[in-house]
Symmetry: C2
Subunit: 149 residues, 2 copies
């Protein structure tokens, strides 16, 4: 049947927008005052993927403007969670390194979220989440590839 109704995109994106808002609230409720979701995202990225990366690398990874990354990093630095050092391989550039406090805050936040997610798992079958995850991943990959360069 060749009528794939495109309005399902609309509905899915609508639900996704609401869930994003609610999940961001859950995260930010567990962060110290003055830190918000983008700060945690950067901490997490450095911890899991790429400690020592340059600001541009991370701006590209999250698809945010360079200026936004500068601002986020300034906040993290002011809280002593990351350290900015000159990049020995490029005089224009810097490297972003986690501090011990940064690593600790990340772990502590992950733990707090784990507790909350366990509570949620009592109300929502995680098998259903496991089932939709690959679809979300493929959707993200498709949209990522489709955005105009």
């Amino acid at each position: 049947m060749p009528d794939p109704n495109p309005s399902v995109f609309f509905e899915v994106f609508n639900e996704i927008g609401i869930i994003e808002q609610l999940s961001r609230a859950v995260l930010e409720a567990r962060l110290p005052d003055g830190l918000i979701a983008p700060h945690f995202t950067v901490l997490n990225h450095l911890c899991r993927v790429a400690d020592g990366r340059t600001p541009v690398d991370m701006a590209r990874a999250f698809q945010v403007p360079k200026t936004s990354m500068t601002h986020t990093l300034k906040g993290l630095e002011a809280h002593g969670l990351v350290e900015l050092r000159p990049n020995p391989e490029d005089g224009r550039s810097k490297q972003v390194w986690l501090t011990d406090a940064g690593r600790a805050l990340r772990s502590q936040t992950i733990a707090a979220l784990g507790t909350e997610f366990a509570r949620m798992a009592a109300d929502f079958d995680t098998e259903r989440l496991l089932a939709i995850r690959p679809v979300l991943t493929d959707l993200r990959i498709m949209m990522d590839a489709a955005r105009d360069p």
Copy 2:
């Protein structure tokens, strides 16, 4: 098996955050200069659900602070897309009504998105979206009910 791995929440929320960002970019690319996603969301809500509603009603519907709704409505009014009238049933309150221009812009944006979604549907099986939609809806309902009052 009392250990449903809660980290799947983390992964799903992560994908949802990225998709939200990408889908918002798709929408805003099709809006006139000076209008962003929240403006469209309000237009759409008025059109589909509740023309003539009060600002507080809509703030509650979208779970944003009253002040944010004031700001969004001011932008829509400046563009001639909505009209704010006093509420005959409550002297403190107002009613938000769509103008013809507001209805037209909403239709036109929906149409443009429809074209884009049809393009996406060529690259992504909409059956998979149909399948995840109820899960997203139930997840949203669960989280909505779980947020602290």
